[in-house]
């Protein structure tokens, strides 16, 4: 039996068991499962897990976050303040660049780079990193 067919059939059979519309025709699923012992066994095990977890519920955690949230509703967020300060600095630098007889040293010319680094440091993110956070673990 083709392995990719088996995988598709198992996925579709589980969707069907969940009461969802499967990606394959239900008759095709039934016929395949009837003739494929590996699929039958795998589906049995998977349904066994469904039975084990059936009827379980989430533990409730009493929590009251309102007292922590309320005072912060009116104030601009810290992140917004940080970006505002960095934006003003950058603007001031650009305005200063228009000055006619400017003779800024090397250190001053590094200001925009320093601001950009400050932003990335604040965000604690590498701008060149490819985000993988939503990648499947098995991939």
């Amino acid at each position: 039996m083709n392995e990719s067919t088996c995988e598709s059939v198992r996925m579709a059979a589980m969707a069907l068991a969940d009461g969802e519309k499967p990606a394959l025709d239900p008759d095709f699923i039934a016929a395949h499962v009837a003739g494929c012992e590996a699929c039958r066994l795998e589906l049995e095990l998977l349904r066994g897990f469904d039975v084990q977890i059936a009827g379980k519920s989430r533990r409730q955690y009493p929590v009251d976050v309102w007292p922590a949230i309320e005072p912060r509703l009116a104030a601009p967020s810290r992140q917004r303040r940080v970006f505002l300060v960095l934006g003003v600095l950058l603007l001031a630098y650009k305005v200063a660049e228009f000055a006619p007889n400017r003779e800024f040293g090397m250190a001053v010319q590094l200001v925009p780079i320093a601001i950009a680094l400050a932003v990335f440091r604040y965000l604690k993110e590498n701008p060149f990193r490819i985000t993988t956070e939503l990648k499947l673990e098995g991939d």
């Binding site: 969707a15 969940d18 969802e20 059936a54 409730q60 955690y61 929590v63 309102w66 939503l134 499947l136």
Partner: protein, 167 residues
């Protein structure tokens, strides 16, 4: 008061209306954040930040949608952002996901040992009973992807339960 009325009132700047939403959904949301992060303190931090994000984003909220699935996306983004920043060796308090705690240690242990995304998916499906369409909305992925990811997550869960029973 229902959610739509509360949202309209929030948009007019009424804090009590937002308090209504916070108090209505905080218990449900902390359970979801704990299932993603596996840590109560981190979950609380993310929950607070997500509610603040929601308050700031309510002006853009489509009132044709339900509040909680929209809020869940904000919460989830906060949780994953924190999970990515957290160092791998950060000790977690490993709070129980299932109720009552200690009732099904083998399932609890298997859930805790799953990867973040698999644990999130399994708990949303099996503990909250979300349909594939609802899962797709919450996780912002197509229904077909829900199907394949759920299948893989179940296989991993089964594998963990099997290896535990062999021990």
């Amino acid at each position: 008061m229902d959610d739509q009325v509360a949202i309209e009132r929030c948009r007019r700047g009424e804090r009590d209306a937002f308090r209504f939403l916070v108090e209505r959904y905080q218990s449900q949301a902390i359970g979801h954040a704990i299932a993603i992060l596996g840590d109560r303190e981190d979950a609380l931090d993310c929950l607070q930040e997500a509610f603040l994000d929601a308050f700031q984003g309510l002006s853009r909220f489509d009132t044709g949608r339900r509040f909680y699935p929209w809020f869940y996306i904000l919460l989830r983004n906060r949780c994953y952002k924190l999970a990515n920043r957290r160092r791998e060796n950060t000790p977690l308090d490993e709070v129980a996901i299932l109720a009552p705690a200690g009732d099904s240690p083998e399932i609890e242990e298997a859930l805790q040992s799953l990867g973040t995304e698999d644990r999130e998916l399994i708990t949303l499906r099996h503990l909250d009973g979300l349909s594939y369409a609802e899962l797709a909305e919450r996780l912002e992925i197509p229904v077909g992807t829900v199907m394949s990811r759920l299948y893989n997550a179940r296989r991993k869960m089964r594998g963990k339960l099997e290896s535990r029973s062999r021990q």
